[in-house]
Symmetry: C2
Subunit: 254 residues, 2 copies
Amino acid sequence: MTYCCGVLVRDGLVMIADTRTNAGLDNISTFRKLHIFDEPGHHVLALASAGNLSVSQSVVSLLHEGVEDHEAGERQMLRDSKTMFQAAQLVGRAIRQVHTVDAHALEQSNVSFDVSFLLGGQIVGGPLRLFMIYSAGNFIECTTDTPFLQIGEHKYGKPVLDRAVTYDMNISDALKSSLISMDSTMRSNLGVGLPIDVMVLCPDTLEADLNYRIEPGEPYFHDLRERWSAALRAAHSSIPRPPYLKNVRSKADE
Amino acid sequence: MTYCCGVLVRDGLVMIADTRTNAGLDNISTFRKLHIFDEPGHHVLALASAGNLSVSQSVVSLLHEGVEDHEAGERQMLRDSKTMFQAAQLVGRAIRQVHTVDAHALEQSNVSFDVSFLLGGQIVGGPLRLFMIYSAGNFIECTTDTPFLQIGEHKYGKPVLDRAVTYDMNISDALKSSLISMDSTMRSNLGVGLPIDVMVLCPDTLEADLNYRIEPGEPYFHDLRERWSAALRAAHSSIPRPPYLKNVRSKADE
Protein backbone atom coordinates (compact mmCIF):
# COMPACT_ATOMS: atom_id res chain seq x y z
CA MET A 1 0.00 0.00 0.00
CA THR A 2 0.86 3.65 -0.08
CA TYR A 3 -0.40 6.86 1.40
CA CYS A 4 0.36 10.23 -0.20
CA CYS A 5 -1.27 13.53 0.52
CA GLY A 6 -1.00 17.02 -0.92
CA VAL A 7 -2.24 20.05 0.99
CA LEU A 8 -2.49 23.33 -0.90
CA VAL A 9 -3.25 26.39 1.23
CA ARG A 10 -2.78 30.09 0.52
CA ASP A 11 0.47 29.90 2.45
CA GLY A 12 1.96 27.10 0.35
CA LEU A 13 2.02 23.45 -0.66
CA VAL A 14 2.80 20.36 1.42
CA MET A 15 3.43 17.02 -0.28
CA ILE A 16 3.93 13.94 1.84
CA ALA A 17 4.43 10.28 0.95
CA ASP A 18 5.34 7.12 2.77
CA THR A 19 7.92 4.73 1.30
CA ARG A 20 6.56 1.26 1.93
CA THR A 21 5.83 -1.08 -0.93
CA ASN A 22 4.67 -4.63 -0.66
CA ALA A 23 4.00 -7.60 -2.86
CA GLY A 24 2.10 -9.54 -0.26
CA LEU A 25 2.80 -9.10 3.44
CA ASP A 26 5.89 -11.27 3.13
CA ASN A 27 7.68 -8.97 0.71
CA ILE A 28 7.97 -5.47 2.08
CA SER A 29 10.46 -2.92 0.76
CA THR A 30 11.29 0.77 0.91
CA PHE A 31 10.95 2.82 -2.28
CA ARG A 32 10.81 6.58 -2.65
CA LYS A 33 7.38 7.64 -3.97
CA LEU A 34 7.84 11.39 -3.78
CA HIS A 35 9.79 12.51 -6.84
CA ILE A 36 11.11 16.06 -7.14
CA PHE A 37 11.74 17.71 -10.52
CA ASP A 38 13.27 21.11 -9.92
CA GLU A 39 15.38 23.86 -11.37
CA PRO A 40 15.61 26.58 -8.71
CA GLY A 41 14.26 29.88 -9.96
CA HIS A 42 12.37 28.20 -12.80
CA HIS A 43 10.23 25.35 -11.51
CA VAL A 44 9.67 22.98 -8.60
CA LEU A 45 7.41 19.98 -9.27
CA ALA A 46 6.70 17.19 -6.79
CA LEU A 47 5.15 13.97 -8.08
CA ALA A 48 3.81 11.42 -5.58
CA SER A 49 2.75 8.00 -6.78
CA ALA A 50 0.49 5.16 -5.66
CA GLY A 51 -0.42 1.85 -7.23
CA ASN A 52 1.62 -0.68 -9.16
CA LEU A 53 5.31 0.23 -8.67
CA SER A 54 6.40 -0.98 -12.12
CA VAL A 55 3.83 1.30 -13.72
CA SER A 56 4.59 4.36 -11.56
CA GLN A 57 8.34 3.98 -12.01
CA SER A 58 7.93 3.68 -15.78
CA VAL A 59 5.86 6.87 -15.78
CA VAL A 60 8.55 8.70 -13.80
CA SER A 61 11.26 7.45 -16.16
CA LEU A 62 9.25 8.59 -19.19
CA LEU A 63 8.81 12.03 -17.62
CA HIS A 64 12.59 12.27 -17.29
CA GLU A 65 13.46 10.78 -20.70
CA GLY A 66 10.57 12.34 -22.56
CA VAL A 67 7.10 11.24 -23.63
CA GLU A 68 6.83 10.77 -27.39
CA ASP A 69 4.64 13.30 -29.15
CA HIS A 70 3.98 11.77 -32.57
CA GLU A 71 2.29 14.89 -33.95
CA ALA A 72 5.14 17.20 -33.00
CA GLY A 73 7.67 14.45 -33.76
CA GLU A 74 9.54 15.06 -30.52
CA ARG A 75 9.86 13.93 -26.93
CA GLN A 76 8.45 16.07 -24.17
CA MET A 77 10.02 16.10 -20.73
CA LEU A 78 8.30 17.18 -17.55
CA ARG A 79 10.91 19.88 -16.94
CA ASP A 80 9.99 21.54 -20.25
CA SER A 81 6.32 22.07 -19.28
CA LYS A 82 5.30 25.71 -19.60
CA THR A 83 2.42 25.54 -17.09
CA MET A 84 1.28 23.22 -14.29
CA PHE A 85 -1.76 22.30 -16.39
CA GLN A 86 0.52 21.18 -19.24
CA ALA A 87 2.65 19.28 -16.73
CA ALA A 88 -0.46 17.40 -15.49
CA GLN A 89 -1.43 16.67 -19.11
CA LEU A 90 2.04 15.26 -19.73
CA VAL A 91 1.81 12.96 -16.70
CA GLY A 92 -1.52 11.76 -18.09
CA ARG A 93 0.04 11.07 -21.49
CA ALA A 94 2.95 9.21 -19.87
CA ILE A 95 0.44 7.01 -18.01
CA ARG A 96 -1.40 6.29 -21.30
CA GLN A 97 1.89 5.43 -23.01
CA VAL A 98 2.77 2.93 -20.28
CA HIS A 99 -0.78 1.59 -20.55
CA THR A 100 -0.32 1.01 -24.29
CA VAL A 101 2.87 -0.93 -23.65
CA ASP A 102 2.05 -2.88 -20.49
CA ALA A 103 -1.68 -3.07 -19.75
CA HIS A 104 -2.49 -6.09 -21.92
CA ALA A 105 0.34 -8.22 -20.53
CA LEU A 106 -0.52 -7.21 -16.98
CA GLU A 107 -4.13 -8.19 -17.55
CA GLN A 108 -3.00 -11.60 -18.85
CA SER A 109 -1.30 -12.07 -15.47
CA ASN A 110 -4.39 -10.83 -13.59
CA VAL A 111 -2.55 -7.69 -12.47
CA SER A 112 -4.65 -4.57 -12.79
CA PHE A 113 -3.22 -1.42 -14.34
CA ASP A 114 -3.54 0.53 -11.14
CA VAL A 115 -1.72 3.82 -10.67
CA SER A 116 -2.41 7.37 -9.52
CA PHE A 117 -0.36 10.48 -8.94
CA LEU A 118 -0.40 13.76 -7.12
CA LEU A 119 1.43 16.52 -9.00
CA GLY A 120 2.03 19.74 -7.12
CA GLY A 121 4.31 22.68 -7.66
CA GLN A 122 4.94 25.92 -9.46
CA ILE A 123 6.46 26.93 -12.80
CA VAL A 124 7.79 30.47 -13.19
CA GLY A 125 5.07 32.82 -14.38
CA GLY A 126 2.21 30.69 -13.04
CA PRO A 127 0.65 29.95 -9.66
CA LEU A 128 1.23 27.10 -7.23
CA ARG A 129 -1.16 24.27 -8.19
CA LEU A 130 -1.96 20.71 -7.18
CA PHE A 131 -3.47 17.93 -9.34
CA MET A 132 -4.53 14.32 -8.91
CA ILE A 133 -4.02 12.20 -12.02
CA TYR A 134 -5.91 8.92 -12.46
CA SER A 135 -4.88 5.69 -14.17
CA ALA A 136 -6.80 6.71 -17.31
CA GLY A 137 -4.63 9.84 -17.56
CA ASN A 138 -7.44 12.26 -16.70
CA PHE A 139 -7.03 14.54 -13.72
CA ILE A 140 -8.65 16.91 -11.25
CA GLU A 141 -7.26 20.02 -9.59
CA CYS A 142 -7.32 20.95 -5.92
CA THR A 143 -9.42 24.03 -5.10
CA THR A 144 -9.90 26.21 -2.04
CA ASP A 145 -13.12 24.41 -0.98
CA THR A 146 -11.26 21.22 -0.16
CA PRO A 147 -7.60 22.18 -0.04
CA PHE A 148 -6.13 18.66 -0.05
CA LEU A 149 -5.94 15.60 -2.29
CA GLN A 150 -4.99 12.05 -1.36
CA ILE A 151 -3.95 8.88 -3.18
CA GLY A 152 -3.51 5.31 -1.99
CA GLU A 153 -4.85 4.27 1.41
CA HIS A 154 -6.74 7.52 1.95
CA LYS A 155 -9.57 6.68 4.34
CA TYR A 156 -7.85 6.35 7.71
CA GLY A 157 -6.18 9.75 7.35
CA LYS A 158 -9.15 11.65 5.91
CA PRO A 159 -11.22 12.46 9.04
CA VAL A 160 -8.42 14.56 10.55
CA LEU A 161 -7.91 16.46 7.28
CA ASP A 162 -11.67 17.01 6.91
CA ARG A 163 -11.77 18.60 10.33
CA ALA A 164 -8.46 20.48 10.49
CA VAL A 165 -7.42 21.71 7.05
CA THR A 166 -8.60 25.07 5.73
CA TYR A 167 -7.24 27.19 2.91
CA ASP A 168 -6.36 29.97 5.36
CA MET A 169 -4.22 27.89 7.69
CA ASN A 170 -0.54 28.48 8.30
CA ILE A 171 1.90 26.35 6.26
CA SER A 172 3.37 24.85 9.45
CA ASP A 173 -0.11 23.80 10.55
CA ALA A 174 -0.77 22.34 7.11
CA LEU A 175 2.43 20.31 7.47
CA LYS A 176 1.39 19.25 10.98
CA SER A 177 -2.06 18.15 9.71
CA SER A 178 -0.51 16.08 6.97
CA LEU A 179 1.81 14.39 9.49
CA ILE A 180 -1.12 13.57 11.80
CA SER A 181 -3.01 12.20 8.80
CA MET A 182 0.00 10.04 7.92
CA ASP A 183 0.22 8.83 11.53
CA SER A 184 -3.45 7.76 11.56
CA THR A 185 -2.90 5.83 8.33
CA MET A 186 0.28 4.14 9.54
CA ARG A 187 -1.41 3.00 12.74
CA SER A 188 -4.26 1.27 10.92
CA ASN A 189 -2.49 -0.09 7.83
CA LEU A 190 0.83 -1.90 8.10
CA GLY A 191 1.28 -1.37 4.36
CA VAL A 192 2.02 2.30 5.03
CA GLY A 193 5.25 2.97 6.87
CA LEU A 194 8.33 5.02 7.66
CA PRO A 195 10.44 6.67 6.38
CA ILE A 196 8.22 9.52 5.19
CA ASP A 197 9.23 12.01 2.52
CA VAL A 198 8.02 15.57 2.84
CA MET A 199 8.28 18.56 0.53
CA VAL A 200 7.09 22.07 1.33
CA LEU A 201 6.94 24.82 -1.28
CA CYS A 202 5.84 28.37 -0.56
CA PRO A 203 4.46 30.59 -3.36
CA ASP A 204 6.98 32.24 -5.63
CA THR A 205 10.09 30.94 -3.88
CA LEU A 206 10.62 28.56 -6.83
CA GLU A 207 12.87 26.49 -4.62
CA ALA A 208 11.74 23.76 -2.23
CA ASP A 209 11.45 25.26 1.25
CA LEU A 210 11.71 21.76 2.69
CA ASN A 211 12.76 18.49 1.12
CA TYR A 212 13.09 16.18 4.07
CA ARG A 213 12.95 12.49 4.99
CA ILE A 214 11.52 11.54 8.37
CA GLU A 215 13.34 8.39 9.46
CA PRO A 216 12.16 5.97 12.18
CA GLY A 217 12.88 7.47 15.60
CA GLU A 218 13.01 11.07 14.37
CA PRO A 219 12.27 13.05 17.57
CA TYR A 220 9.57 15.50 16.39
CA PHE A 221 7.47 12.94 14.53
CA HIS A 222 7.83 10.45 17.37
CA ASP A 223 6.65 13.14 19.81
CA LEU A 224 3.76 14.14 17.51
CA ARG A 225 2.54 10.53 17.44
CA GLU A 226 2.67 10.22 21.24
CA ARG A 227 0.97 13.57 21.78
CA TRP A 228 -1.77 12.87 19.24
CA SER A 229 -2.55 9.50 20.85
CA ALA A 230 -2.65 11.07 24.31
CA ALA A 231 -4.80 13.95 23.07
CA LEU A 232 -7.27 11.55 21.44
CA ARG A 233 -7.53 9.52 24.64
CA ALA A 234 -8.07 12.74 26.61
CA ALA A 235 -10.70 13.90 24.09
CA HIS A 236 -12.45 10.56 24.45
CA SER A 237 -12.44 10.82 28.26
CA SER A 238 -13.71 14.40 28.19
CA ILE A 239 -16.99 13.41 26.53
CA PRO A 240 -19.74 12.55 29.02
CA ARG A 241 -20.92 8.96 29.09
CA PRO A 242 -24.15 8.18 27.22
CA PRO A 243 -27.26 8.65 29.38
CA TYR A 244 -28.94 5.58 27.87
CA LEU A 245 -27.67 2.97 30.35
CA LYS A 246 -29.19 4.26 33.58
CA ASN A 247 -30.17 0.85 34.88
CA VAL A 248 -26.93 -0.91 34.08
CA ARG A 249 -24.47 -1.55 36.91
CA SER A 250 -21.05 -1.79 35.34
CA LYS A 251 -18.80 -4.47 36.81
CA ALA A 252 -15.80 -2.54 35.49
CA ASP A 253 -16.69 0.36 37.79
CA GLU A 254 -17.09 -1.68 40.96
CA MET B 1 -23.10 1.94 2.19
CA THR B 2 -23.38 0.76 5.75
CA TYR B 3 -21.38 0.90 8.93
CA CYS B 4 -21.92 -1.60 11.74
CA CYS B 5 -19.69 -2.25 14.69
CA GLY B 6 -19.71 -4.70 17.56
CA VAL B 7 -17.67 -4.10 20.71
CA LEU B 8 -17.31 -7.00 23.15
CA VAL B 9 -15.69 -6.13 26.47
CA ARG B 10 -15.72 -7.95 29.81
CA ASP B 11 -18.51 -5.64 30.89
CA GLY B 12 -20.80 -6.46 27.95
CA LEU B 13 -21.60 -6.19 24.27
CA VAL B 14 -22.42 -3.11 22.17
CA MET B 15 -23.89 -3.50 18.68
CA ILE B 16 -24.40 -0.42 16.55
CA ALA B 17 -25.62 0.02 12.98
CA ASP B 18 -26.63 2.89 10.76
CA THR B 19 -29.79 2.67 8.64
CA ARG B 20 -28.88 4.23 5.31
CA THR B 21 -29.10 2.23 2.12
CA ASN B 22 -28.45 3.49 -1.33
CA ALA B 23 -28.70 2.33 -4.90
CA GLY B 24 -26.61 5.11 -6.32
CA LEU B 25 -26.47 8.53 -4.69
CA ASP B 26 -29.88 9.39 -6.15
CA ASN B 27 -31.74 6.62 -4.38
CA ILE B 28 -31.23 6.79 -0.62
CA SER B 29 -33.50 5.05 1.88
CA THR B 30 -33.71 4.07 5.52
CA PHE B 31 -33.72 0.38 6.41
CA ARG B 32 -33.08 -1.23 9.76
CA LYS B 33 -29.86 -3.28 9.63
CA LEU B 34 -29.71 -4.30 13.30
CA HIS B 35 -32.02 -7.25 13.83
CA ILE B 36 -32.81 -8.54 17.31
CA PHE B 37 -33.83 -12.15 17.97
CA ASP B 38 -34.70 -12.50 21.63
CA GLU B 39 -36.59 -14.46 24.19
CA PRO B 40 -35.90 -12.87 27.57
CA GLY B 41 -34.33 -15.32 30.00
CA HIS B 42 -33.33 -17.67 27.19
CA HIS B 43 -31.42 -15.81 24.47
CA VAL B 44 -30.66 -12.39 23.02
CA LEU B 45 -29.06 -12.32 19.55
CA ALA B 46 -28.31 -9.19 17.55
CA LEU B 47 -27.55 -9.54 13.86
CA ALA B 48 -26.14 -6.54 11.95
CA SER B 49 -25.88 -6.69 8.18
CA ALA B 50 -23.90 -5.01 5.40
CA GLY B 51 -23.83 -5.50 1.66
CA ASN B 52 -26.57 -6.18 -0.87
CA LEU B 53 -29.90 -5.50 0.90
CA SER B 54 -31.84 -8.17 -1.02
CA VAL B 55 -29.30 -10.77 0.09
CA SER B 56 -29.15 -9.66 3.74
CA GLN B 57 -32.94 -9.45 4.04
CA SER B 58 -33.32 -12.93 2.54
CA VAL B 59 -30.83 -14.28 5.07
CA VAL B 60 -32.76 -12.66 7.94
CA SER B 61 -36.05 -14.07 6.62
CA LEU B 62 -34.53 -17.56 6.38
CA LEU B 63 -33.25 -17.29 9.95
CA HIS B 64 -36.82 -16.54 11.06
CA GLU B 65 -38.56 -19.10 8.83
CA GLY B 66 -35.89 -21.76 9.13
CA VAL B 67 -32.92 -22.87 7.04
CA GLU B 68 -33.49 -26.25 5.43
CA ASP B 69 -31.33 -29.04 6.79
CA HIS B 70 -31.59 -31.82 4.21
CA GLU B 71 -29.74 -34.38 6.33
CA ALA B 72 -31.97 -33.87 9.37
CA GLY B 73 -35.01 -33.33 7.13
CA GLU B 74 -36.09 -30.25 9.05
CA ARG B 75 -35.85 -26.48 9.14
CA GLN B 76 -33.59 -24.79 11.66
CA MET B 77 -34.43 -21.37 13.05
CA LEU B 78 -31.96 -19.02 14.67
CA ARG B 79 -33.96 -18.98 17.89
CA ASP B 80 -33.47 -22.73 18.25
CA SER B 81 -29.66 -22.53 18.26
CA LYS B 82 -28.17 -24.15 21.35
CA THR B 83 -24.92 -22.15 21.35
CA MET B 84 -23.61 -18.94 19.80
CA PHE B 85 -21.23 -21.02 17.68
CA GLN B 86 -24.17 -23.00 16.26
CA ALA B 87 -26.03 -19.72 15.68
CA ALA B 88 -23.06 -18.37 13.66
CA GLN B 89 -22.94 -21.63 11.69
CA LEU B 90 -26.65 -21.27 10.92
CA VAL B 91 -26.17 -17.70 9.63
CA GLY B 92 -23.40 -19.07 7.40
CA ARG B 93 -25.70 -21.80 6.08
CA ALA B 94 -28.46 -19.26 5.43
CA ILE B 95 -26.01 -17.16 3.40
CA ARG B 96 -25.00 -20.24 1.38
CA GLN B 97 -28.64 -21.09 0.75
CA VAL B 98 -29.34 -17.59 -0.60
CA HIS B 99 -26.16 -17.89 -2.66
CA THR B 100 -27.43 -21.12 -4.22
CA VAL B 101 -30.70 -19.44 -5.16
CA ASP B 102 -29.58 -15.95 -6.20
CA ALA B 103 -25.85 -15.71 -6.93
CA HIS B 104 -25.97 -16.86 -10.56
CA ALA B 105 -28.76 -14.47 -11.54
CA LEU B 106 -27.06 -11.60 -9.71
CA GLU B 107 -23.83 -12.34 -11.54
CA GLN B 108 -25.69 -12.26 -14.87
CA SER B 109 -26.74 -8.71 -13.96
CA ASN B 110 -23.19 -7.80 -12.88
CA VAL B 111 -24.25 -7.52 -9.24
CA SER B 112 -21.81 -9.16 -6.87
CA PHE B 113 -23.02 -11.44 -4.10
CA ASP B 114 -21.77 -9.14 -1.38
CA VAL B 115 -22.95 -9.54 2.19
CA SER B 116 -21.51 -9.75 5.70
CA PHE B 117 -22.91 -9.96 9.20
CA LEU B 118 -22.01 -9.34 12.80
CA LEU B 119 -23.72 -11.74 15.17
CA GLY B 120 -23.46 -10.99 18.88
CA GLY B 121 -25.32 -12.15 21.93
CA GLN B 122 -25.80 -14.81 24.52
CA ILE B 123 -27.77 -18.04 24.78
CA VAL B 124 -28.58 -19.40 28.23
CA GLY B 125 -25.85 -21.68 29.50
CA GLY B 126 -23.14 -20.12 27.32
CA PRO B 127 -21.07 -16.93 27.33
CA LEU B 128 -21.58 -13.63 25.52
CA ARG B 129 -19.88 -13.93 22.11
CA LEU B 130 -19.46 -11.93 18.91
CA PHE B 131 -18.85 -13.21 15.37
CA MET B 132 -18.28 -11.76 11.92
CA ILE B 133 -19.72 -13.89 9.11
CA TYR B 134 -18.46 -13.48 5.55
CA SER B 135 -20.30 -13.88 2.24
CA ALA B 136 -18.91 -17.40 1.85
CA GLY B 137 -20.58 -18.38 5.12
CA ASN B 138 -17.33 -18.76 7.07
CA PHE B 139 -16.78 -16.67 10.17
CA ILE B 140 -14.36 -15.38 12.78
CA GLU B 141 -14.90 -14.66 16.46
CA CYS B 142 -13.99 -11.56 18.42
CA THR B 143 -11.33 -12.10 21.11
CA THR B 144 -9.94 -10.04 23.96
CA ASP B 145 -6.88 -8.90 21.94
CA THR B 146 -9.01 -6.81 19.59
CA PRO B 147 -12.38 -6.51 21.29
CA PHE B 148 -14.33 -5.17 18.30
CA LEU B 149 -15.42 -6.21 14.83
CA GLN B 150 -16.69 -4.02 11.99
CA ILE B 151 -18.53 -4.53 8.70
CA GLY B 152 -19.29 -2.17 5.83
CA GLU B 153 -17.46 1.16 5.60
CA HIS B 154 -15.04 0.32 8.39
CA LYS B 155 -11.94 2.42 7.75
CA TYR B 156 -12.98 5.92 8.82
CA GLY B 157 -14.16 4.70 12.20
CA LYS B 158 -11.30 2.31 12.93
CA PRO B 159 -8.53 4.67 14.20
CA VAL B 160 -10.63 5.78 17.19
CA LEU B 161 -11.48 2.17 18.08
CA ASP B 162 -7.84 1.11 17.71
CA ARG B 163 -6.82 3.75 20.21
CA ALA B 164 -9.72 3.75 22.67
CA VAL B 165 -11.21 0.29 23.01
CA THR B 166 -9.82 -2.22 25.50
CA TYR B 167 -11.37 -5.37 26.90
CA ASP B 168 -11.33 -3.89 30.41
CA MET B 169 -13.25 -0.73 29.60
CA ASN B 170 -16.59 0.17 31.11
CA ILE B 171 -19.69 -0.70 29.03
CA SER B 172 -20.71 2.97 28.87
CA ASP B 173 -17.27 3.88 27.52
CA ALA B 174 -17.54 1.05 24.99
CA LEU B 175 -20.86 2.51 23.86
CA LYS B 176 -19.33 6.00 23.71
CA SER B 177 -16.42 4.71 21.60
CA SER B 178 -18.77 3.05 19.16
CA LEU B 179 -20.77 6.27 18.83
CA ILE B 180 -17.61 8.30 18.14
CA SER B 181 -16.57 5.68 15.59
CA MET B 182 -19.99 6.00 13.94
CA ASP B 183 -19.68 9.80 13.93
CA SER B 184 -16.27 9.67 12.18
CA THR B 185 -17.73 7.37 9.53
CA MET B 186 -20.83 9.50 8.97
CA ARG B 187 -18.73 12.63 8.52
CA SER B 188 -16.59 11.11 5.78
CA ASN B 189 -19.11 8.92 3.93
CA LEU B 190 -22.56 10.23 3.01
CA GLY B 191 -23.66 6.63 2.47
CA VAL B 192 -23.69 6.14 6.25
CA GLY B 193 -26.37 8.10 8.11
CA LEU B 194 -28.87 8.56 10.90
CA PRO B 195 -30.91 7.12 12.48
CA ILE B 196 -28.56 4.76 14.32
CA ASP B 197 -29.70 1.59 16.06
CA VAL B 198 -27.92 0.53 19.22
CA MET B 199 -28.17 -2.57 21.36
CA VAL B 200 -26.33 -3.17 24.62
CA LEU B 201 -26.28 -6.53 26.37
CA CYS B 202 -24.54 -7.21 29.67
CA PRO B 203 -23.40 -10.72 30.59
CA ASP B 204 -26.07 -13.05 31.98
CA THR B 205 -28.93 -10.55 31.94
CA LEU B 206 -30.38 -12.45 28.94
CA GLU B 207 -32.44 -9.40 28.14
CA ALA B 208 -31.29 -6.40 26.07
CA ASP B 209 -30.09 -3.69 28.47
CA LEU B 210 -30.59 -1.16 25.70
CA ASN B 211 -32.42 -1.37 22.39
CA TYR B 212 -32.50 2.18 21.20
CA ARG B 213 -32.73 4.23 18.01
CA ILE B 214 -30.83 7.52 17.84
CA GLU B 215 -32.85 9.83 15.59
CA PRO B 216 -31.54 13.02 13.92
CA GLY B 217 -31.34 15.81 16.48
CA GLU B 218 -31.15 13.50 19.50
CA PRO B 219 -29.49 15.72 22.16
CA TYR B 220 -26.75 13.43 23.53
CA PHE B 221 -25.47 12.25 20.15
CA HIS B 222 -25.63 15.78 18.76
CA ASP B 223 -23.60 16.99 21.74
CA LEU B 224 -21.11 14.12 21.40
CA ARG B 225 -20.48 15.08 17.76
CA GLU B 226 -19.90 18.75 18.63
CA ARG B 227 -17.64 17.91 21.56
CA TRP B 228 -15.60 15.40 19.58
CA SER B 229 -15.01 17.89 16.77
CA ALA B 230 -14.00 20.59 19.25
CA ALA B 231 -11.74 18.17 21.12
CA LEU B 232 -10.02 17.10 17.90
CA ARG B 233 -9.41 20.70 16.91
CA ALA B 234 -8.01 21.40 20.38
CA ALA B 235 -5.82 18.29 20.19
CA HIS B 236 -4.51 19.46 16.82
CA SER B 237 -3.71 22.92 18.20
CA SER B 238 -1.98 21.49 21.26
CA ILE B 239 0.72 19.78 19.20
CA PRO B 240 3.79 21.97 18.61
CA ARG B 241 4.45 23.04 15.04
CA PRO B 242 7.08 21.06 13.12
CA PRO B 243 10.61 22.44 13.61
CA TYR B 244 11.49 21.81 9.94
CA LEU B 245 10.43 25.16 8.52
CA LYS B 246 12.75 27.52 10.38
CA ASN B 247 13.49 29.73 7.41
CA VAL B 248 9.93 30.07 6.16
CA ARG B 249 8.04 33.27 6.92
CA SER B 250 4.38 32.42 6.90
CA LYS B 251 2.12 35.01 5.28
CA ALA B 252 -0.79 33.59 7.27
CA ASP B 253 0.93 34.63 10.49
CA GLU B 254 1.68 38.20 9.46
